[in-house]
Symmetry: D2
């Protein structure tokens, strides 16, 4: 074998949000996004989307402020999990084991360079739909409820980072994530954004620039719907529910995804997303945007509001000191 990083992450797995308004947040995910509650445990609510093969995917935790608790990756095999833990430990990124949680895990937990908590796991629990939730086509995991936006699954996560480049290199070097687009800062060295993936998908993990002194903040989680038409329909649903729409529906320049950005009642930014290109070439190189060209945002798509680049959770007072 070469010393190239192995591609040993399979996909984003369960992830967890903090919210100061757990009732409102759960209602948002259930009534408006169409997810189902599968369990409740103290201040934690476990939810799933109809396209999740695992038992659950989102853990909402009541807390004093909004933000991301942790994000996980399912690793491709037990051996791969050992290898990744070895790499982390041998490269000075020690973490620790977290016991399984409602059938998924144990997890090896480790921070990314910006301090966001990540978890790696292989052992999981498949969802067994109870009577009344069984899909008519047996290759599905759950009947389609047709409630609200009807999100299929988590599509990607976007984290804010003081050092985007450092975070990107951490995942490339240690885990073989591939990067499809990078925005260079005007200094030509630092990076304003990077879009990464463990598979042919255009993006699973995005880092964009943290412009405050904070660490470990969330920009947004994005949930997938099956068509752009469904993103437009989701706009109707959330608008009539008086949920704040921050941007969209429109299309991003990077990865060409079609988006709708909302703020769930707890304050976390949640995207309803469709599309984005797939990358097939095994030797594809990232597209590097220089700061100048990036500003022109070629192609169609509405301009994003300034707050899109500043707001994250937990919210912080200072917003643009850099």
């Amino acid at each position: 074998m070469t010393d190239e990083p192995l591609h040993e992450l399979a996909h984003l797995g369960p992830h967890s949000l903090f919210t100061p308004d757990p009732v409102g947040t759960v209602r948002y995910f259930v009534d408006l996004l169409g997810m189902d509650v599968v369990a409740q445990d103290g201040n934690a609510t476990y939810l799933r989307a109809f396209g999740d093969y695992e038992a659950w995917s989102l853990k909402v935790i009541g807390s004093d402020q909004a933000g991301v608790a942790w994000v996980s990756w399912r690793v491709t095999s037990p051996q791969a999990l050992s290898r990744r833990v070895d790499w982390l430990e041998s490269h000075g990124h020690p973490g620790g084991w977290v016991p399984q949680d409602r059938g998924i895990g144990p997890y090896y937990q480790v921070p990314d360079p910006d301090g966001h908590v990540f978890r790696l796991y292989y052992e999981t629990q498949r969802y067994l739909a109870p009577e009344g939730k069984r899909p008519v086509v047996p290759t599905g995991f759950q009947a389609y409820t047709g409630r609200g936006a009807g999100v299929r699954r988590l599509d990607h996560v976007n984290l804010l980072a003081r050092d985007v480049r450092g975070c990107r290199e951490f995942w490339e070097a240690g885990f073989g994530l591939r990067t499809w687009e990078i925005v260079r800062l005007p200094d030509g060295v630092g990076e304003a954004a990077a879009w990464m993936s463990s598979s042919i998908q255009g993006h699973e993990l995005i880092y964009t620039q943290e412009r405050t002194h904070a660490h470990g903040r969330l920009h947004h989680f994005a949930y997938l719907v099956d068509s752009r038409e469904e993103v437009l329909r989701a706009a109707e649903i959330v608008a009539d529910a008086r949920i704040r729409i921050e941007a969209g529906p429109s299309r991003h320049t990077a990865i060409q995804g079609f988006y709708l950005y909302t703020r769930e009642p707890g304050g976390n930014r949640i995207e309803i997303a469709n599309g984005g290109y797939l990358v097939f070439a095994p030797d594809a190189e990232p597209h590097i945007w220089d700061a100048q060209t990036w500003k022109t945002k070629p192609g169609w798509g509405a301009p994003l509001p300034p707050e899109f680049h500043l707001y994250g959770t937990p919210d912080v007072k200072e917003r643009s000191e850099r």
Copy 2:
């Protein structure tokens, strides 16, 4: 003025279904089609779709068998209503007045030549959305709930008739309905189907051939969704709910509407529909299909199952004696 029939019907209004399974039928319209119950009165349930400007549009009545109770037209003005009643009476189609029902009416009730009960009315009650149902855009009538297929309103009704041509001529002569397509029977005189409208819409009222000795039967009611994509999505919803899909999603040759045919739990055939052409020419003539060409069904669209041409409600044992 000429002696041409005046175009004095504005649109299809409230309509009423019989069902032997009122609980199942109401659940179908509420959970799967996304309508709301606005009132309950004995064995009658009043429902509305989010795009209805009137207080309600569908009255489901528990009964021993399925079928259509009545269909109504809103007339363009009080004067027009008088004129239409005069025409009916002077042409030997006497009817009678039915008092208003939950704010809509009074209705002048009269059978069509096949015995289906029709009602004409002008007085109505606009829907005033209560708190929590108010749409964010004030030109809307009701917030979009995003539940199930999310039908906007009744699109058209298809009735079975022994004498399609007689029914068509009744509406043309007395009410100025316009006919956009006619299928001739092999005898070159009788008609197998006719598509009629009070406006630029391709179809509001369809008659197709009754092949049994029954009278007054329903072929289907069709409810509108806003895109073909939503018809496909509706198929997912009803399939997973184990509702029987009789045909579609596909496209009809006549009027070019995109369809999904289901059977609601009470047995009535209900279509989820999108599209169909609009007719702008004030001097448009109906397209007349001869029996031979009609069979070839030019253009794309799946073949319809034989039962599509035989089944109606109430169901009858004999099905193809003609």
Copy 3:
């Protein structure tokens, strides 16, 4: 009969654009919007869209500057045409007859109160598709070419007017156009915009405020595609063709239409449009927006750029003196 205005306009008919770049303009309509050239005559090019039942609908005329040459309405009958001409003459709006042009007309030509040239006609020529252009379904007018955005027909026209209210009242009083939305100016009397229609469609004729001293200017023509998905697709097509996108794809608050605004090479603003509500109630009243509420633009949809409210054709230097 009452003295209410009769509804005697059937639909928008042929319309004509001036352009300083006739080659570029025709190429835009043919290659990007998918229309067909049906005739060329000196500096005039006659085009049609696949959904037009008449022989042609758009006449592009080479000129020194962009703008609208004229817009026409087809009237519902020859008698109605006489009645409308009588009304115009008896109300001090004299016009004159223009001979038929390539099979459509004669037209009675009259300016609206802002000076835009309108034409009324009844006699027309239906399109007979030549071999190779015949649609497979005989109720269609022309085979669907699948070129570019593939617009079906003109959807509406938006004219700039110094006195929006005067224009609106002219069409209501004389022609029975109905108005579905009005934006009041802060003075509570004047109007910033009005959306009018001859049928159940939400808009065929729009007036918005002219903020310069000019008269008779065009805001935009809008061509229909069959779905929002096709509007998004059109954005891809025009963006890759380096046509300027001024706004969208997004949705308007008024009439709820989904839009994409481009500038054709001659400078005229052209919309690719889908949707907008239908109005069924025969006694529907226009929704009146006060200036304050209008500014909040409730519901979803991107903000429009300032130039959207200022630019028209022909372009004028002064743009915001009012």
Copy 4:
């Protein structure tokens, strides 16, 4: 390393069709599917779709009968290509090298167990869009032309095989393709169909049962469009072009892909496709349909015509002797 097969195929690459009507076939791919001709060489025409990152993807070869000439896989690295060739040779599947063809290759050519010609390659040539074909967003490969159905790329290939199971096991054992669905024959051992992929996509390579004595026949190639709405639009385009539609638009039970099957003028079956699920679980097992359940085709979707299961190219007289 374990002795598990390595996943060393990156994606389907160039592929080649035989046609007795090369002019008609090329016109079909250019005018109706929207592909571009990039080169012509004797009786061979090289085409590409706008989403291909490589210089070309389809080679149409004039011949006495229709069918598939060859299909290729791009391998993940030069080392992987060596390893795959070693595996083939050491397992008794010798092939041979074919020189590069218009910048792509060299290829190692080897038959699958049914005799279809496959080619493996790593070296390729990226497409450099000439002026006028450059996409406005630089991460794209080519401007979107908006011609016809506008297919993005090859989606999958479906081959007929006498021994579906043998073919499936060949690709699993030697190349690490993963199988997501299998239809068992009534004998419980043989297989009627298998859906395989090199990535998270639901299907790239499908084998279905050859019911004649022929070998090496093509069932269909499928080209991707970006939405179900575009599949419906494609139906309009091909129907008006009088191309035969064999089935659809509708949805398959297996992989849940939305389809439209046509016959290109040379006789090959070509699908315009959208969708199909993605498989994320690294330990996903194929869903195995027993013959009985498979026949019920749960979920929605039109029945396929009998010929769908019999016709392939080259066509053979005998069609159902098995």
